[in-house]
Symmetry: C2
Subunit: 265 residues, 2 copies
């Protein structure tokens, strides 16, 4: 299947970090950006200037001439955007890890699916989707095939994943991405309070993440918790007494590592 026989023009609904990244990546892959919607005129103008296309701030004004409508909006506004969406018979996808596909069928859409990149977008990202795994889902087989082809035109790794599995993946991604970043942020805060440069810990963070490229995290766990080194653990908890929240978190994560170690062993 040549996906561009079916999808030539794409309308982007949402002009935040994700919308931005999608727009640039779609255009680089040879798709036309038909129109941009954003409720914020400033964002709409900025992205439409970059992509050289029209924009609107009213969902009711969306042009019906696109072959695919890509929703790149936050989960919390996704249902209300769909409530106000002017077409039920256009191919439409959302890009969220957290929202089930029923959000479309519950509202009477006929051709819909999910196009979920396993990544968290920030403005400074590189522009290609090529290294980012894409998970697609659709109810109709023809749409599944179309989204697979569309995904493959953008990324080297495309998976079919139903909404249940996508939910698992999204929770896992929160742990692996958001929560690990918070662990870095706590480290940064503790160091900063003592006047120690965060630079000193950066190589350690890189090494730990690099090991994950070809190893299973459960097999490379190190530190006082996995050794059940209660003496060090107590000393660290005592150190954290002025940060009761971090002290509690240290205790919880430590217990979780100890419990996991036991169940692995």
């Amino acid at each position: 299947m040549n996906v561009k026989d079916h999808i030539a023009r794409i309308t982007l609904v949402g002009a935040g970090n994700a919308g931005h990244k999608f727009g640039v990546a779609f255009r680089q892959a040879g798709y036309l950006i038909h129109e941009i919607y954003s409720r914020t005129e400033e964002s709409a103008i900025k992205l439409s200037n970059r992509l050289n296309c029209n924009y609107t701030t009213q969902l009711s004004d969306l042009d019906p001439g696109a072959d695919l409508y890509v929703l790149a909006v936050n989960d919390d506004v996704l249902p209300s955007v769909l409530d106000s969406f002017p077409f039920k018979d256009k191919l439409i996808v959302h890009t969220s890890g957290a929202t089930p596909i029923d959000v479309f069928s519950d509202r009477g859409f006929s051709d819909y699916g999910i196009f979920y990149p396993v990544q968290s977008f920030s403005k400074e990202d590189t522009e290609s989707l090529a290294p980012i795994p894409i998970c697609v889902e659709a109810k109709k087989e023809e749409n599944t095939q179309l989204l697979m082809s569309f995904g493959r035109s953008l990324s080297m790794k495309v998976y079919i994943l139903d909404s249940e599995k996508r939910k698992t993946l999204h929770v896992a991604a929160v742990f692996a991405n958001n929560f690990s970043n918070h662990m870095y942020a706590i480290a940064e805060e503790l160091l900063s309070e003592d006047g120690i440069d965060f630079e000193i810990i950066r190589p350690l963070i890189q090494t730990t993440a690099s090991k994950i490229k070809n190893k299973q995290p459960k097999n490379i766990q190190t530190g006082p918790a996995v050794r059940n080194d209660q003496k060090v653990i107590k000393r660290h908890l005592e150190f954290l007494k002025d940060h009761p929240n971090y002290q509690k978190l240290y205790e919880e994560v430590t217990n979780s590592i100890i419990a996991k170690q036991k169940s692995n062993g």
Copy 2:
């Protein structure tokens, strides 16, 4: 100062992952490994064969002919190793992030210090210490200078850090390294239970860690917690109901991200 005028021969006390890594790195940097001690004969033989040096399994048999004794043993056995150490007047360092320098002065040693690489060692690591920050500490100025020079002969980044700051750094490293790895391990477990390949999440882990190379973690936090997206958070907590430990951890880390976001803002 030419450090090798002062330190030519090094004895390694401990032949685990850290001892292994130190031995190889010291030799590569042109030092002679004088002797290996390990209480486990098998480990002692293995490393002494690799480094082409003598070994002993009795601390009382250690040869006094080394210029530097490097302790690469776990924190929990460090005091007892020092209790049985046969010389008080030789230059001796430990390599632990968690043990204060007083462990030496409390036992009447005269020339001592800390040589702490900010890294967690595993058998599969690369062999050079060059990219790994080294923190040194000594009581006597001459020993501080000697350990700085020794550090610089092995690593591109050497810091002088007292025991209080080293404790801060060690707690920070537990968060940034051990705890982030546990977040990966939880992700791996959740995916595996649902038959989803961990491969799908590896690029996300790499990207998150890469951003840390030149950004502050607090500025790149993403996810439902930092958006305070209670709908997604509730859905995830519900998803984790069969994993009460992970559910509790999800809640704690989420609350910690929300609290930190408020205090930043």
